[in-house]
Symmetry: C2
């Protein structure tokens, strides 16, 4: 064990706490930055609604416990508006990243304003664009998988592609994260036989965006769903992908390969290409 | 105008840029912290995939343009792995919050590791728990609004409540943000007549969580959908809310009022109470 610890290339264990007087979602988002350190395995623990001396005490106990377990002090990313709670928490040993100290207070100096320090400011329903995002989620769920053609004029993006190429999770992510009304519409064997995009899309071509996917991946994903079916067969997948790409090419629809891209990446690319900057 | 600018209580305009060599989603999440400054109106501009000298130049031009428009320098929240691009960008005048300088590099010292600096580290499909989140999104969409009873044993949370109390957006948020398989199931007049929860829920009570909503709000939301209907009437809404709360109380189901809470807040409360810490 001692030998392993000396070896810089070995994984080390740390716990990352996200401690907030509100939802902890903003602090938690910074958890993504931990992926810049692939040689540390982080156990992530969220402690939302930490807004009383009692809950601070529980947080400190959790920090102590994690330190013993990992053999190293935790990383604590915190947003606590109350200055007394903040100071109390910091009396234990951890590597603290305090979003008030590092961001909010210095930004207040730049803006020449005192920040609000109440709990849960960042994720209240008062936040800008909240209703827009809720409407987008409802719209997107109602227009998943070509469920209805009515109301497509209100869509901001219409994703198309073969079955199981990633349209649904990408649409949902666009709605939840960016408040984009994202419909999605499958390209199916009937479309390939006719050799043209579904008629309902013709008057919305300016907001249609395509997803495609690599053969092996589509075969694998469809086999999970219906193993051994024609639908999942390599030959059918190959034909569908080629036919879908032909349809999109003929119609001048931009598209992107979803195979090795996350919904975050796909969404950012789609927003970029369709110029919906939030 | 000059008089207004002197008045501290007046709104000021600033532009907030989120500049990233990847999706810009982590930097963008910090945009929530701007809501601690309600006297500044921020125009938020995302510039993802800023990973070449040319795109840095475009970003600088956008910064200059915003400075002229607002009469004040922008706030720039940035994650650029490439140190040369980083330095180039900072040659223009703005209030820079550099996540490498303030977070990643100091954290590397704490961990005694050099951070990865490639673009888009944080939101690759390699990120921990990515597949889990995608599965959760599919599960949640397939189990929206009581669509199917099959597979409920795989649900981690089952939200219940009257029609239009916020079950769907909350379920979707739980799936997208936390990778929670969240089914939702409506409580409808037939349930109220029988006076018991739907039979399918009986064996899953340990993961059922309720949402309720205030009368005036439910009336308003339902009226938007079907104005003047019995469904939307104050009297019917009052009866449904009381009946739903009775059912939940009798069954010992915890519940929370969604009226003035965001999906972020509702999700954090539900995770807290059902002990799904991510």
């Amino acid at each position: 064990m001692v030998k392993q610890m000396d070896d810089e290339s070995m994984m080390q264990n740390r716990t990352a706490f996200f401690i907030s007087d509100g939802t902890g979602i903003t602090a938690g988002a910074l958890g993504k930055l931990l992926e810049h350190f692939p040689n540390t395995h982080f156990t992530q623990v969220r402690l939302p609604f930490t807004n009383t001396p009692e809950s601070i005490k529980l947080a400190q106990e959790a920090i102590l416990h994690a330190t013993e377990k990992d053999g190293a002090r935790p990383v604590v990313i915190m947003t606590l508006g109350d200055i007394n709670l903040r100071h109390t928490l910091k009396q234990c040993d951890a590597y603290f990243i305090d979003l008030f100290n590092t961001f909010i207070d210095p930004l207040g100096l730049e803006l020449n304003q005192s920040p609000l320090t109440g709990a849960g400011i960042a994720h209240s329903v008062m936040g800008s664009s909240y209703n827009e995002r809720m409407e987008a989620i409802n719209f997107t769920l109602n227009h998943d998988d070509g469920m209805t053609n009515s109301g497509l004029e209100a869509a901001q993006v219409i994703l198309i592609g073969v079955s199981r190429c990633g349209k649904t999770p990408t649409s949902v992510y666009l709605a939840v994260q960016f408040g984009i009304k994202a419909a999605n519409y499958p390209l199916i064997p009937e479309d390939f036989e006719r050799g043209v995009l579904p008629a309902v899309l013709h008057k919305h071509l300016d907001k249609v965006f395509g997803l495609t996917i690599k053969l092996e991946r589509l075969h694998a994903v469809r086999s999970e769903r219906r193993a051994g079916s024609l639908y999942a067969s390599l030959d059918n997948c190959r034909k569908e992908i080629a036919a879908a790409e032909n349809l999109m090419r003929d119609a001048g629809i931009p598209w992107v390969d979803s195979t090795s891209r996350s919904v975050e990446e796909l969404s950012a690319i789609i927003l970029e290409k369709t110029r919906h900057h939030s």
